[in-house]
Amino acid sequence: MLGWEFPPLFNGGLGIACAGLCNALSEFVDLTLVVPKISKEQIKSKHKILGLNRLNEEFIENIVYEDVAKEVEKVYEIEIELDPYYVETHKSEKKTFMEKEVEKIKKQKVGQMREKFQFENLYGDDVIQKVIFYAELVKKISSSIDFDIIHAHDWMTFLAGLELKKMTGRPLVLHVHSLDYDRAGSESRGWIYDIEKTALNEADLIMPVSNYTGNILTSHYNIGKNKILTIHNGIDSEKVYKKKKSFPEKMVLFIGRLTGQKGPEYFLDIATKIYKKYKDVRFVIAGTGERLTHLLEDGAYRQIGNRVHFTGFINREKIKELLSMADVYCMPSVSEPFGLTALEAAQFEVPTVISERSGVAEVLKGSLKADFWDIDLMVEHITQLLSNEQKRREIIENNKRDLENLTWQNAAKEVAKAYDSLLN
């Protein structure tokens, strides 16, 4: 299993979904997950998990291919700053000019590589280098792992998946949590698209997290329906609680990265319309992203800055706290492959109003829905939920019912079944 984000270090939907699936899937198959970065405590998980930032010596020794081992060793040792290899080379005196140059380049390269996973951000301007480095490293350590199926999550790991398939001939399963299309729209034709397209063509089986994403795969990426199998995300049961707000107004909540794809601008439109009519409501925009400053200024321009509150970046605990206080959750995404937060809102018994263009709309059948651009309908739904207790209860109950089947175990069963048919 090839993953990219992994909680608790990275808490995007991708990381959470990947962790949820792996956890459940380890009941059915022997699973090794490789991710760029994990924290200490994660080494004890149900399945085997390798964080490239924490490859240990034992593991490296197990790698049979010697040159490869050396390469990896370099990376590992530099990271903990206890590198006997370099100490030696510094000490050894007689070196040719050429050798010195090579050392210099190697050192530089390793230094750069080290930096790749020493960061807060798994993406950034040099994400392509991180992706290539990840693929190289995965290829090198794969010889020490016994596996029958390659399962890669999103484009960041697709390259590694492709390389592994080429090297070993094992079937390649691609798990699609989001596509370049979601971020760039129908104009999407960049190098990320190219990686996606190549991998999708080569894959033996593709698992989008929703039919919505499945349809994009067939329409925008021109992939045959026969190798697409939708696996809806599940959700782990959560200890939910209710917290009394310390202010009297109702609270409408938006959670997500502040990028065009998530539709925060539409949320601002919705807030503006509602606030025109009703004064005792507050809107909370939780999360951060490149649209934050623009949204703050836009809110001020509309003069609703006293009713729209921006939390900035917040951690999981704070997100739960928001969910425990909210009266309505609104997800006006422009393109949302799934939308795990909507499920979390449902768990916290917050009635939901969600974009039709989302995967979660397929599973939260009883939630209120609208097209992201249909501000009036969104406003109507939200005001109804705020003012009509019966409607509110109805949506909460609908969501509860829908949640019952949405377990990772169900998802994992489907995945395991698909593995079987690939191998037989």
């Binding site: 703050l296 001020a300 800055g305 509150h309 005001t383």
Partner: protein, 400 residues
């Protein structure tokens, strides 16, 4: 003789906390006590005490020839009383000499004039009372927040009993008239003093700029510039914190000033004066016309340093919207909190201007970005609104 009118302006805002959404309705402390105390301590030690020591020395030995004017905002006084009474004492000692004029201003260093005349009047009176109580003097000269000024304001200030008002020599609004003469406000008897920004900024802004071609500035050079101006008066208005804070002691600012002052005291062409000494009641002076508001901030020298973008505009609007509710609450603490939120600095931090003006905004701002400044400020206003509404519920359409 050219009269030098040197005015030093102290101001320290009561800076706000990074108030989180999660504290909305919890009425936590809006003001960052730790940071404010830290800055008051630093400025007192770097600037107020050493500068006052030097000024006292010059006042004492000049036999009444050295004269200056000082303005102290109410928020500065409040914080000095709380954290550094020794600084208050040092100001009292200066003012007792009789050669230091104390100016009047809005207590909270606010932009209240542009939002509420009633609130403006109250703040001016509050400040007047405080100055009387602390220093036993009654100011006759007024300086509005950050030298903001327009025709109507001058007239209103005159009606409050002041005879002089200070403002910026804002080139764009003054149509080429010299700052080095005394003027009358439009349709008013109030005397208007225009800041000579070139000579003021040579000390206030450029003194420690190593890229400046006159760096390091010698007192003799500057003295010659003063001589060359040749007007009736020379209005040098500076931040008090210029001495020791903006320009640290190591830049030589104190010895520069001491030497310069001694040179002026010996001069037969220059003399120090207070505003009240030169205020003329005759109408022989030219009238100036400033229909639009000017100030001493940024390139624009208007209100855009505090009200140039939507965030600033909204924050100010929301703040002053609360006036009636605040005053109806008849609660001293609520009133003083609201007033401390009026201090212009809060809005100054929200400015999104760039280049060197942006640098100045950033130099003063305790926040990471103007957007953060706005975000925290609005959270505080929201919390404050909730506080107000618990006793004075605003009637509006409500959800069931």
């Amino acid at each position: 003789m050219t009269k030098i009118l040197l005015m030093l302006k102290t101001h320290q805002p009561i800076r706000i906390n990074e108030y989180s959404f999660f504290d909305l309705g919890k009425h936590k402390n809006y003001f960052n006590e730790g940071l404010n105390k830290f800055i008051i301590d630093r400025v007192t030690d770097n600037s107020y005490l050493p500068t006052n020591k030097l000024l006292k020395k010059l006042l004492d030995k000049s036999d009444g020839k050295f004269k200056i004017s000082i303005s102290l905002s109410g928020t500065t006084i409040d914080q000095l009383e709380k954290y550094r009474p020794d600084a208050i004492e040092s100001f009292q000692q200066l003012i007792q000499t009789g050669n230091v004029e104390v100016l009047s201003e809005t207590y909270y260093h606010s932009l209240s004039y542009f939002y509420s005349k009633a609130e403006f009047d109250e703040q001016v009176n509050l400040h007047r009372k405080k100055i009387k109580q602390l220093f036993n003097v009654l100011p006759v000269t007024f300086v509005n927040t950050e030298l903001t000024y327009n025709d109507a304001l001058a007239k209103d200030v005159h009606n409050l009993g002041f005879w002089g008002i200070l403002t910026e020599g804002a080139d764009w609004a003054l149509r080429g008239i010299s700052t080095d003469n005394l003027y009358l406000g439009k349709n008013s008897d109030i005397n208007v003093f225009l800041r000579n920004h070139g000579l003021s900024n040579d000390i206030g802004y450029r003194f420690s700029d190593i890229r400046w071609r006159h760096f390091p500035l010698k007192h003799k050079t500057y003295y010659n510039w003063l001589l060359k101006s040749g007007g009736d008066i020379l209005n040098l208005f500076l931040d008090f914190e210029t001495f020791g804070e903006h320009h640290k002691k190591e830049t030589g600012i104190f010895s520069f000033f001491e030497k310069l002052t001694n040179k002026i005291l010996k001069s037969r062409k220059l003399e120090f004066k207070k505003f009240q000494d030169v205020i003329a009641k005759t109408s022989e002076l030219d009238e100036i016309q400033v229909p639009q508001t000017i100030s001493w901030a940024d390139q624009e020298k208007d209100l855009t340093a505090w009200r140039g973008n939507a965030m600033q505009y909204e924050a100010l609007l929301r703040l002053y919207e609360m006036e009636a509710a605040v005053k109806n609450a008849k609660d001293h603490e609520i009133l003083s909190t609201w007033r401390n939120l009026q201090t212009s600095d809060h809005f100054y931090y929200m400015s999104t201007k760039g280049l060197t003006d942006g640098d100045v905004h950033n130099y003063f701002s305790p926040f990471f970005s103007p957007h953060d400044a706005y975000r925290y400020y609005m959270n505080i206003l929201s919390d404050f609104e909730i506080l107000l509404n618990t006793s004075h519920r605003v009637v509006s359409p409500k959800f069931g």
